[in-house]
Structure formats: C-alpha cells, structure tokens
Amino acid sequence: MMKSFFRTYMPFAKAGTQQMMAYKVNFIFHLIGEIMSCFIMFFIWKAVFTSTDGKTFMGFTMNDMIVYIFISFMTGYLSYSDGAFVLGEEIRDGSVSMRLIKPCSFDMCFLFQEIGNRVISYGIIFVPIVAGVEIYRYFLMGSVQFNVGNFIMFFISLQFAYLINFYFNIIYGFLAFYLKNLWGTTLIKDVIVNFLSGATIPLAFMPFALQTFLTYLPFSSLSYTPVMIYMGMYTWDKILFSMALQIFWIFAFWGISKLIWRSAIRRICVQGG
C-alpha cells in the first residue's frame, strides 16, 4: 500500500527536481532577489533599534529581531507553494484532461513534484542560514544557543506549514479561477498573507486583541508558529497547542480542496479538441 504509493509518486518528485534543474538560472536569480530583500529588512530593523533608546523593542532584542528576520525568511521560502496554482488555468484551457487520464491523485502529483523542487531549495538555503544564524548568535552571546528539541519541533512545524500552504494554494487557485475579475493578483494575496502570517512583522508587535485573533487564523500557522518555536519563544504547552492547530488546518484545507476538486471536475466542461 505505502510502497505502491511511493512507487507511483516518487517519479513526480524526480521530475520536479529535473524541472528545477532545467530552469536553474531563473531559480538562482530569484533566490538572489529574495536574499537581497531579506537584507533590506535587516538594515531597516537595525535602524529602528539604533534609533530607539531602550534595549528592547516590544519584548524583542535586536538580536532576537535579526534571528527572526532570517528564520522567518527561510521559513517563508521553504514553505512557499505555488505549484498547484496552475490548476485553475489548466481547467480553463482544458489541459486538465491530461491530468484526468492518469491514474494519480491530482494533489499528490503536485505535492511530490514540488517536493522534488524543494529538495534543491533545502540544499541551497537551509544549512547555510541555520549555520549562519547560529554562528551569529554564538559570537553575540558567547555561548551556543542551539536547542535540539526546539530545532526538531521547528523542522516538523515547518513541514506542517508547507502542507497548509500547499492546500491553501490549491483552494486559492480554484478561487482565483472562478473569481478572476474580483480577486486581483497573486501579488496582493502574497502581501496580505505575509502580513497576517507574521512574516512581515512579528505578530507580537500587534495589538493584543488582533494578535489573539490572528493566532487562530490559519495564517499564523504558516510562518509565525515555526519561527517562534525555533527562537525558543514558546513553552512546550504552547508548542504542542500551535502544532495541533497546524494539523487542524492541514486537514481542513485538504478536505475543502478535495470537495472543490470533486465538484469542479463534475461540472467543468473540458474545452477544446
């Protein structure tokens, strides 16, 4: 059962990796752009901290903030998902029929293909950033700050964040397809999601009521939860609670995406031919 599942979908992961290799120049330039915007954030926050009198800003030291920026960048980058976004387009132009004639689940094909992509992103980003951040913390604090327990929970939470993102984007892909004229571009969505998920500024900086509210929305599960776990800002109780919330959102989005898919393929009229 499990074996035949992997036999079926592993090739998609391999295909994803090869696809990535085919566009490696794109990938590198995109990555350089992302890293540059990350450093811009770094300098902005540095300026904020040097211009304030106290040592901390809303409970964050400058050191915390810098770790936050880089880890949240990495989390955002590694949990990003847009592979399934083409689905709406495929339904519109009828090429979804080529998906329907294969004995595979539509979401698993996308998922594994993206995992194949992600293998490369992990290789290029994960180790350097974690190492960089830890070395930075070591020199600043004079002692090793790395916590294996937190790190493992962070890693699991990051995978959860990816899965939420993955199914969220499938749903968004359908929505954008149906509401093409109303919804605007992916750029606006990304800005809103980044803000609500705490990727732009830590949720801790927001008014308490809003912060509590956002914690229960799915967005905080995308970025804020894993980052807080990494930084050791959460107690074990809080870690378990927020990860349970992540799992809840994975199932919720998974269920919704399946429902939409099922009703969509019954109703779509595959065009062309």
Binding site: S4, P11, S97, L100, C269, V270, G272, G273
Partner: protein
C-alpha cells in the same frame, strides 16, 4: 468490451451581451443556453476491434471520447468499458486504457522523453521486463531513438505525436482511445503510426477507438465505422456495406475548352436523375460530375458529354470511401 447506451451530453454556454453593461449583467444574472453536443448515442464495440469513429467538425466525437475516458460526466445515459464506469472510479479505470488527444500532449514539457517514459512506467506499474520489451517494440515501429533524450518541449509536432502514441501504449492498455492521432503529420509518420496501431491490435488484442478526418486511416485500419453528425448517430456498420450501398456512384471529371459549354449539359433532364443521384461542381475550367451509375451508365454519360462539348481532358473515377463520406456529410444517409 464497450457498451454505450443513450449517451447524452449538454453544455451550458454563457451568452454574453456586448458592452460593459452586458458584462455587468452577466455577472449577476448570467444568461445561459444549452447546447446538446451528444444526443442519445448507443453503440457497442467488441474486444479486439478497431472502430473508426467519424463525423464532420463539431459532430461531437471528441465529446464522446471525453466521456468514454472519464474526463467528462454524461448528462444522461451510460457507458461501460470493460465492466467499469469511467467517471465513477476514475483512477482504477484509467489504468486500463490509453488515450491520445492529437491536439494535446500528455508528456511532461520539461522532461526528456526518456524520463517521461520512466515516470509513466512507475505510475502504471509496468514490470521491468515488459517495459523493456514494449520500449523496444515502440522504438522499432515509431523510431523514437533519435529524439528520446530531448526535452519534450523541443520536439516537432510529428515527433511529439509519435512520442504521445508510444506513451499511450506503454502500459499495454486494454482499450486505446485515439482522437485524431494523425493530425498534421507527414505521410511517412502517418504510416508508422498506423503500423503501430495495427501491430498492437494484432499482437495484444487491444480494442481501439479512432477518430480522424483522414479517411485513409479508416480504410487501412478499420472494418467498422460509427458515424455521428450534430450529436446524432447516422451510421453504424461495416465499411464494405457502405461501399455497396453507395458504391454505384461514379465521378466524371473533365476540363472544358469553353467554360460556357457547361450550360449546354443537362444530365438531369437527359437521364432523368434525382437530386440524390447527381451533383455537379465546376470552377469554370474543369467540372466534376458525380452520378449514380445504376441510373445512367458510365458509357452513356461519357458519350453524352463528349457529344455535347469539347473537352481537353477527361477521366472517370470509382467512388472511394472519401467520396461516400463526403456525400453522407452533405446529405445525410
């Protein structure tokens, strides 16, 4: 093997009124119109048969194929292939079939062709030994070797089509659905593809449903055809019967020295022919007369024509299948 009963498919088509006002209106209260693409079609196909599925543009052929392959759900009616209902258990069902849509590709755009086949091998769980034999066979018939390492996006139409055909046959499907597999191909490639179809049918007993506008595909591959028009079934039977039924039609082509001459010819009156028995086409220089040789013998028609006008060139042809189909498309059975 394949049972199709009263299959029907309606599409809802949005009607958009022109202008901004129309767009706003259609946003809140979309006006729709129902188009019946397939209207109550029934036929059966037995195992190992190659069925030619033909009809003029917009007849509903592709729509039927999409329902048979589980891509579309019928509005009403039933189809059952190999004991399975396509749109009900899609994943299981599609494992047993192979599909080619001439206008689309099922191959991965960015992968080398060889990798694509490796992916398909796993998806369809083809055993190593069978995979090797099958690849060898397909290689031989379709000559894939020269481009098997190229990414699919760099293939020419003919190469891509051969690759697609090979992909549909890789897992030894029980039924093969081919929707215009020879569209836009040169004669040699067409020949290779026909050979591949013939071979897999003969060796594996694969049932094949084939739509095409190239009637030589049909003549070379099929014994039986199902013809539809405007969503309705118009003919289901052996090609030979069709030939017998319409085979008495002959075609007389000639080039005139003087284009006004045509006016002096009155085949209809002279031979007392009906509408069905005669058609005349002319571009001023040459003319094509199709007539029923039971009603007017070839000899008489020739004699009459030559007596009336001066011709530069003249010849008589047997009705081939193309001619017959043309007649049916134009006039109905």
């Amino acid at each position: 093997m394949i049972q199709v009963e009263n299959l029907r498919k309606e599409f809802k088509k949005a009607i958009k009124e022109p202008g901004i006002k129309g767009s706003v209106k259609s946003l809140f209260k979309p006006k729709t119109e129902i188009v019946t693409a397939v209207d109550d079609i029934s036929f059966n196909v037995s195992k190992g048969e190659i069925l030619g599925f033909i009809g003029p543009n917009g007849a509903g052929k592709s729509t039927v194929i999409k329902m048979l392959t589980g891509i579309l759900t019928p509005t009403s009616g039933k189809c059952c292939i190999n004991g399975k209902i396509p749109y009900e258990n899609r994943k299981k069902y599609v494992k047993e079939i192979g599909v080619v849509f001439g206008q689309r590709t099922q191959l991965w755009w960015d992968l080398a062709l060889r990798e694509t086949y490796a992916v398909l091998k796993e998806i369809y769980e083809v055993p190593d030994k069978q995979y090797r034999e099958r690849m060898e066979f397909l290689n031989e018939v379709l000559d894939l070797q020269s481009f098997i390492t190229s990414p699919v996006r760099t293939l020419s139409l003919g190469q891509r089509m051969r690759a697609d055909i090979a992909a549909s046959m890789l897992h030894n499907p029980k039924v093969l659905f081919l929707d215009e597999p020879t569209i836009g191909l040169d004669v040699v490639v067409k020949d290779n593809i026909r050979k591949a179809i013939q071979k897999i049918n003969a060796e594996e007993g694969t049932t094949v449903i084939l739509t095409t506008h190239d009637l030589s595909d049909i003549e070379l591959l099929c014994d039986r055809i199902v013809m539809i028009d405007k969503g309705n079934l118009v003919y289901d039977g052996q090609i030979n019967n069709l030939k017998h039924k319409y085979g008495q039609m002959r075609e007389l082509c000639f080039e005139m020295k003087n284009s006004d001459d045509l006016l002096s010819l009155d085949y209809k009156g002279h031979f007392t022919l009906d509408e069905d028995d005669l058609s005349i086409e002319s571009d001023g220089v040459s003319a094509t007369i199709r007539f029923n040789s039971d009603r007017a013998s070839v000899q008489e028609v020739l004699k009459y024509t030559l007596a009336k006008i001066d011709v530069r060139d003249i010849n008589v042809k047997d009705a081939d299948i193309e001619e017959i189909i043309r007649r049916i498309y134009k006039e109905g059975v």
